[in-house]
């Protein structure tokens, strides 16, 4: 409905020309109206623009163009048609005019904000909540008010009785609706969230132009509200004006460095008044003392206090120096550096380690927070590196101590300046610390080489080439450095320590040692299980005696970085939404499916770290053809006499051409990632198909379960990469089947063999030998090529139950040399299991086989059987049955008695008293792994019969 009278009343206040244009805007289509309005805005002064907006705002149909100054509804969507950006001056004049027009209203609003702030400081959340509702009713929505709501939510530790707070959050579109603006704010304020990853993800949101400009500008407010220049500030002001007038005022307050405040006196005055609503920073700081890391929480939540000049002063340092210096939105201007130089209280690294006054203000509580936290100290380190060009000095001891008082340097350090610092440091261990920081961030091979080189030098000179010894030494006093080495030392890193890691076996052993160390240090069983799985895997590979020449690979370090940068935030948002909607128990969510699918696509197609890069560089270009064609046709050198026969020679040439065409056809069409251009590519970078559907469902469930258990998504990258391998393996199996299928075609010698009909015997015999040899060569080549298309064991363990038994028997034989049960099995009937069941099955088998070897009949019969039981209503179950003959001298009754263990009795001592054997251990396994179940332990017909099951995911 249009209030016609009021509309005409306002319209008359405009001059005739403008009036006509406003009429044109009202009567035109959206497209024309926006065009006319854009032109008009450029030429109007602030007073006229204000009047035009007032008039147009009364005309409902133009509601998509003119946002409200005090919006009655939350503005968290792209509700408005984005107008052309104006010069900053125009916006500031406009806001200056608006602040004058609304001065009285704003000042009363500020009084209420002051009162609200006072309640928050006193932790009086009920009063805060009531006031929030009142402010929203009287002054409308603003991102500013939303930030206060989220702050109260966090400080009250999610007190859901604060209805006013939750209502505004819900009304704004979060946390149950997964609105980006609201959810990114919620995540930003949360204690357990990885702030830098979140910031990177938000600041790197895909630029869809005007279509998501408002969303991009609003989501960045809690992370980096600083504009780089006047042009960027214009855009930010425009977006914030769309959110509310108070948001526009605040964004100008934050960025006063980009304009002359005195040119906009009303705005300047209002900003001053706004500052007066804020409590002093000491009081704000005191609200976070109860948290485990007060500075981290204080920093994350500080955007709730943007009205405070002191908070803005505080934030400038970490906003610019607790972030990657390469970020496109960061620019170190002289003014900025000067401003920060005045604030920072120490000028060199030794002071940075020892001082309790890192900054030069007089707020005691803030000093305390800064000194005990890591953010300000890390920021100052980065600042000093930048301003001193890395020309700093620090002793080894001080550097180590500094590493325990800083955080996230690997993501925030300036690589070039850090290199200068490394060159000036006195010891190899000091250099190692700096190279560790550099190498994680740098894509330069020399930086990573320097790290490996220095590490190896230290290990060879001082630690008998043992990485674990160095890690243990560092962990005694400088745990963060030890942890960092652990994190960096994955298989790919260890593989390149060529001076000390001389074989894949050694690589696995070192990694397992490090996992064990981590497990003992954190008390988390996961790491110890991982170590055991690695070693069991390796033991199986020894038993198998196969050549592991896989050429399909993924650079997991880079893939994980990609997942963190591109998926972590979204995944977090969806899981948090599920949590808020009590949907975690359902475990299913289409958005998580979509995210995993995106990850899998990247896992397959990325040309730097994905399978595509290895497929192209390690297989398609040259190697494959060399293997299957060039080395095959070399046979002609050994059969020159036969090939001198003119008929044979021409048939050989013809066969060769056809064969080459077939090989080339595989290279050109099959050895690719499937796409529109390569429709026959074997690797399909999506999750279509029943088998892949089951895997992705298991992945989604795994992610939800992990989030439910841990409350964060830190393990998600590891889980996703594990399942991506499982997905890829579906296609790897299919290409291997394809190769087998191609054998018939590649081994078609009918043309060559037909020579036998019309030639003398010598040629016929030579021809037969020739085709026989050719057959054998091609068959061998296809077999070895098949081994290229397997996933590497080291990145994602998988076990063959046949080989697992062999490996267990082999280990038991180290104690009981005479023990030699039949371990042969039919490979085509074997079962391979993927995932973390390794150690449980190994342990169970070990207990049973060890018992059989120790207590059973010498040279008696031991049988091992396993199969999968499918049930419609539940997940499949692996059933394992082992029977072992008892000694002739013992009775079944006696053995039955010995096998008796009360499952409900004390089994905690199973690992302690029975050394490496004992039925109790099986019950122990059952107690601590709900997937493992003992079905039977009995002695019947002169055999100990043990049957257990293990529940599988799919």
């Amino acid at each position: 409905m249009i209030n016609t009278a009021k509309f005409h009343h306002e319209l008359k206040k405009l001059n005739v020309d403008t009036r006509n244009k406003v009429r044109a805007i009202c009567s035109s289509s959206d497209k024309v109206a926006v065009k006319v309005f854009n032109r008009l805005r450029k030429n109007l002064n602030s007073k006229e623009l204000f009047q035009v907006e007032m008039t147009l705002s009364l005309y409902n149909d133009r509601g998509k163009i003119i946002p409200e100054h005090f919006p009655t509804q939350p503005q968290t969507h792209e509700n408005f048609i984005r107008l052309c950006s104006l010069p900053l001056k125009n916006y500031l004049q406009h806001i200056n005019h608006l602040t004058k027009h609304y001065e009285e209203k704003l000042l009363i609003f500020f009084k209420q904000i002051e009162e609200l702030n006072s309640h928050i400081i006193k932790q009086d959340f009920s009063s805060s909540e009531r006031l929030i509702s009142e402010i929203f009713q009287n002054y409308g929505y603003s991102h500013f008010l939303l930030r206060k709501c989220v702050l109260i939510k966090q400080l009250s530790q999610d007190d859901t009785s604060l209805k006013g707070v939750y209502n505004l959050i819900d009304l704004s579109g979060g946390a149950k609706k997964n609105n980006l603006i609201v959810n990114s704010l919620l995540h930003c304020f949360q204690e357990e969230q990885d702030y830098l990853s979140l910031k990177k993800s938000i600041m790197g949101l895909r630029d869809n132009g005007d279509a998501n400009k408002f969303r991009r500008d609003l989501t960045r407010l809690p992370f980096h509200p600083h504009a780089k220049n006047a042009e960027e500030l214009s855009q930010l002001v425009q977006s914030n004006l769309q959110s509310s007038l108070i948001d526009a005022i605040i964004i100008t307050k934050i960025n006063t460095n980009l304009f002359e405040s005195s040119d906009y006196p009303h705005l300047f005055k209002i900003n001053g008044k706004l500052n007066e609503t804020s409590p002093d920073i000491n009081s704000i700081a005191s609200t976070v003392f109860p948290f485990e890391d007060p500075e981290e929480v204080f920093f994350k939540q500080s955007s709730a206090w943007y009205e405070s000049d002191e908070i803005l002063e505080y934030r400038t340092l970490p906003d610019y120096f607790y972030d990657s210096p390469d970020s496109s939105y960061i620019e170190y201007t002289d003014t900025l550096i000067q401003k920060l130089s005045n604030r920072i209280g120490c000028n060199n690294l030794p002071d940075l380690v020892s001082t309790d006054k890192l900054t030069s203000h007089h707020f005691q509580q803030l000093h305390e927070i800064e000194a005990n936290g890591t953010i300000t100290r890390s920021s100052i380190l980065n600042f000093l590196l930048y301003t001193k060009e890395g020309n700093l000095f620090i002793t080894e001891l001080d550097l180590f101590t500094l590493m325990t008082k800083t955080s996230d340097l690997a993501r925030t350090i300036n690589i070039q300046k850090a290199k200068t610092l490394a060159a000036m440091l006195p010891s190899d261990l000091s250099k190692l610390v700096i190279y560790l920081l550099i190498a994680k961030k740098s894509s330069n091979e020399r930086d990573r080489f320097s790290l490996r080189r220095t590490l190896q030098r230290i290990l060879i000179n001082d630690y008998q080439s043992e990485l674990l010894s160095l890690v243990e030494y560092l962990a005694e006093n400088y745990l963060p450095i030890a942890d960092f080495i652990y994190a960096v030392s994955n298989e790919a890193f260890l593989a390149q320590l060529s001076h000390i890691v001389k074989s894949p076996k050694q690589m696995i052993e070192i990694r397992a040692e490090l996992h064990n160390w981590k497990g003992l240090q954190t008390g988390e069983q996961y790491y110890i299980n991982r170590a055991r799985s690695l070693l069991i895997d390796h033991q199986i590979s020894i038993v198998r005696g196969e050549i592991d020449d896989h050429r399909i690979y993924v650079d997991i370090t880079r893939f994980s970085e990609w997942v963190y940068d591109n998926m972590a935030h979204e995944l977090n948002a969806v899981l948090t939404m599920m949590k808020n909607n009590n949907e975690l128990e359902q475990k299913d969510n289409p958005q998580i499916y979509a995210l995993v699918e995106k990850c899998f696509y990247e896992f397959c197609t990325n040309s730097f770290f994905g399978i595509a890069s290895y497929l192209g560089r390690r297989i398609r270009h040259g190697t494959f053809r060399g293997h299957l064609y060039s080395s095959v046709i070399k046979i002609e050198k050994r059969h020159q006499k036969l090939l001198q026969d003119p008929v044979m020679s021409s048939r050989w040439e013809s066969w060769k051409n056809q064969y080459e065409e077939k090989v080339q056809n595989i290279i050109n069409n099959k050895l690719h990632v499937k796409s529109n251009i390569m429709p026959d590519g074997f690797l399909i970078p999506n999750t279509a198909g029943l088998e892949k559907n089951e895997i992705i469902a298991a992945c989604v469930h795994g992610l939800v379960e992990d989030f439910t258990a841990q409350g964060h998504t830190h393990n998600s990258s590891q889980l996703i990469s594990e399942y991506c391998w499982r997905l890829a393996e579906v296609d790897l199996r299919s290409i291997n089947s394809y190769f087998k299928g191609q054998k018939t075609s590649l081994l078609d010698f009918s043309e060559l063999s037909s020579i036998t009909f019309d030639h003398d015997e010598e040629i016929v015999c030579a021809g037969k030998d020739f085709t026989r040899e050719l057959h054998s060569i091609i068959s061998d080549k296809i077999t070895s090529i098949s081994s290229w298309f397997k996933r590497p064991h080291s990145v994602s363990p998988k076990i063959s139950l046949g080989y697992l038994y062999k490996a267990v028997v082999s280990e038991v034989q180290q104690t009981f040399e005479q023990f030699s049960p039949d371990t042969t099995f039919e490979e085509n009937k074997d079962i391979e299991l993927i995932g973390g069941a390794h150690h449980v099955l190994y342990d169970a088998l070990y207990v049973i086989v060890y018992n059989a070897a120790k207590h059973g009949k010498q040279n008696g019969k031991v049988t091992y059987d396993y199969f999968i039981v499918h049930d419609k209503d539940s997940s499949p179950i692996l059933k394992v049955i082992i029977d072992s003959e008892i000694k002739d001298s013992e009775t079944e009754l006696y053995i039955s008695d010995r096998l008796k263990v009360s499952p409900t009795g004390n089994i905690e001592d199973a690992q302690v008293f029975e050394n490496r054997s004992g039925i109790k251990k099986l019950y122990h396994l059952q107690k601590y792994d709900d997937k493992f179940k003992i079905n039977k332990i009995a002695c019947e017909n002169r055999f100990v019969k043990i049957e257990f099951t293990y529940s599988l995911e799919y």
Partner: protein, 149 residues
């Protein structure tokens, strides 16, 4: 006797390179490294008058029952860096089957790779040769490069 090191894991390419060496560099004793670790060992043991470097190599030799080596797409660069660290000037020629080389997270065509390796990593190589199976063009290119050394 002057020494030639061939760093390569593709058996067919190895044979072609060995044949090339027998024909054009008969005075050189040929050493073979099929993995990064063996290449590094060789470099630390001997000085070479020429090194043929492949980019994609496994970390360790592939042996039955010894587990999986890691596939290194830029393993050749590790060798160049090791030489640079040792302040060695053994002439290196990259012989790769892929038309681009990844240097510091970016792909460069072979024509630019020599310069980029120097600019970005301070690694000196004589040239980069594109090895194409069943073609002899690379041999000509390689011959020319060797003559210039």
């Amino acid at each position: 006797m002057e020494k030639l090191l061939i760093i390569e894991d593709d058996e067919h390419k190895i044979e072609r390179l060995k044949t090339f060496a027998q024909k054009h560099l008969p005075e050189k004793e040929v050493f073979l490294a099929t993995s990064l670790v063996t290449a590094i060992e060789n470099i630390n043991k001997y000085e070479f008058s020429l090194i043929f470097v492949d980019m994609g190599i496994p970390s360790h030799p592939i042996e039955a029952g010894s587990g999986s080596p890691v596939s290194l797409l830029t393993g050749g660069i590790e060798v160049l860096l090791e030489l640079s660290e040792l302040q060695r000037t053994d002439p290196c020629i990259i012989i790769t089957q892929y038309p681009d080389i990844e240097i510091s997270g970016q792909f460069y065509p072979l024509s630019q790779a020599t310069q980029q390796l120097y600019d970005k990593l301070e690694c000196k190589v004589e040239t980069c040769v594109h090895y194409i199976e069943d073609s002899s063009e690379w041999e000509e290119e390689l011959k020319k490069a060797i003559q210039k050394i």
